[in-house]
């Protein structure tokens, strides 16, 4: 059924038990992003260690898609070089814009491939991207501060 194709078990798992949730100190930058159409909000902090993502901590209020996406994202990028993480973010954005037509690269996206079905529901794409946009913003701010 259509619903199951979007609400994959992985997504529901991350929704019920989000990984890396909570705002932690110390951090290099913090941002607050909102999806005004539906009331999803996320406060996200980034801590860098040289060129690596040392920690991503967040507090989010929102739908299952936005919460699960934040959790999956944190899993994917913590401990990895910023450049790799940005690349993964770009791949995820591509997947979200694909209208269900793209076969996702599981090597790069790992659990995030579970969100493939979301790309068929335009109203939910922003939900899946919210955390990623917040992380990109926070990272840009953190790197600017470093420079």
């Amino acid at each position: 059924m259509q619903l199951e194709s979007m609400y994959q078990e992985i997504i529901l798992d991350h929704y019920r038990n989000p990984h890396h949730k909570g705002l932690r100190d110390p951090y290099d930058a913090e941002v607050h992003h909102v999806n005004p159409t539906c009331g999803d909000e996320v406060t996200l902090r980034v801590r860098l260690d040289g060129d690596d993502v040392a920690d991503v901590s967040y507090d989010a209020m929102g739908c299952s898609i936005s919460q699960a996406s934040a959790s999956v994202m944190a899993d994917l990028i913590i401990g990895r070089p910023v450049k790799d993480a940005m690349n993964t973010g770009d791949e995820f954005l591509k997947l979200m814009k694909s209208k269900g037509q793209l076969d996702p690269d599981e090597e790069v996206l790992e659990d995030a491939v579970a969100f493939t079905g979301v790309s068929k529901y335009p109203a939910r794409i922003k939900c899946a991207l919210l955390a990623w946009m917040a992380w990109k913003d926070a990272t840009a701010k953190a790197m600017e501060a470093q420079a």
């Binding site: 619903l3 009331g39 939910r124």
Partner: protein, 270 residues
């Protein structure tokens, strides 16, 4: 606001005082359905020397409205909530007030004479209708009004009231549903906003509720419905809203209640 979604008028004499210039309020809430006591507020405002502007977007489609009986100074509504097209609305105002107001938009039709040094302006309503008007939209609005008059605003109000009563009783039976706004149909219109908890007690986000309902053929709105401060007042960020109109039926209310139970099953913990 009171906890049951009515205007808290206990301190109205402090809120509306000699420094108040204009009191603006909605006739009927698009979130809570509450019908506000316009005459009471207007009396207070006028006693304090203030003007009253009422937003009737939700009320005009659902009940007969008499602006003179309400004694208000300005009253507005939109076409797209009364079976009309988008892009057009109506502002009613007392003639002497409209005559006193300056134009806000310049252009053809709103002028009387135009010179290099100054211009004079047409009387209301043309003073406020500069340029080519949305003619197609106006024709659509006129047709919508004729249609509703044909159906009968009293009839619409009565039918909606009965359907609302039924809907409130059905939603009361859905465990984990928390209705915003008045729990009974008195002085209440057909907007039903609510939060929904799953069978495990965790709230199911309105966006997810609307997604499952959509899969079951029921269309609702999720979010804060252009009323974020109101949602904050009730301690939430978003709600799901089902709104009734005279074309809805009891069977559709049943489908909504059923869909909500399906939603709770879908998000139930394994």
């Amino acid at each position: 606001m009171t906890d049951d979604g009515r205007l808290d008028l206990s301190n109205i004499d402090d809120l509306i005082n000699e420094r108040t210039k204009i009191v603006a309020l909605a006739h009927q809430s698009n979130v809570l359905g509450t019908v506000n006591p316009i005459r009471e507020v207007t009396a207070k405002a006028h006693a304090a020397g203030a003007l009253v502007l009422v937003d009737g977007a939700q009320s005009v489609p659902q009940m007969p409205v008499d602006v003179r009986e309400l004694d208000v100074d300005f009253y507005g509504f939109t076409a797209h909530k009364l079976c009309g097209p988008t892009g057009i609305g109506v502002l009613w105002g007392r003639r002497e007030l409209l005559e006193a107001l300056p134009p806000f938009l310049g252009g053809g039709e709103m002028i009387e004479t135009v010179a290099m040094e100054r211009s004079t302006f047409a009387p209301p309503p043309h003073k406020f209708e500069a340029g080519t008007m949305p003619i197609a939209e106006a024709a659509g609005l006129s047709a919508a009004i004729d249609y509703l008059r044909d159906v009968g605003l009293e009839e619409i109000h009565t039918y909606e009231h009965e359907l609302l009563d039924y809907a409130l009783s059905q939603l009361r039976e859905v465990e984990g549903l928390r209705l915003l706004g008045p729990a009974d149909a008195t002085d209440r219109g057909g907007a039903l906003s609510f939060t929904l908890d799953g069978l495990d007690g965790r709230e199911i986000h309105p966006h997810d509720v609307s997604q499952v309902l959509d899969a079951h053929g029921v269309a609702v709105r999720a979010g804060h419905h252009c009323a974020r401060p109101l949602h904050r007042r009730f301690g939430i960020t978003a709600s799901t809203r089902a709104s009734l109109y005279f074309y809805n039926t009891r069977a559709e209310v049943d489908a909504l209640a059923d869909g909500l139970r399906q939603t709770q099953k879908f998000f139930g913990t394994a």
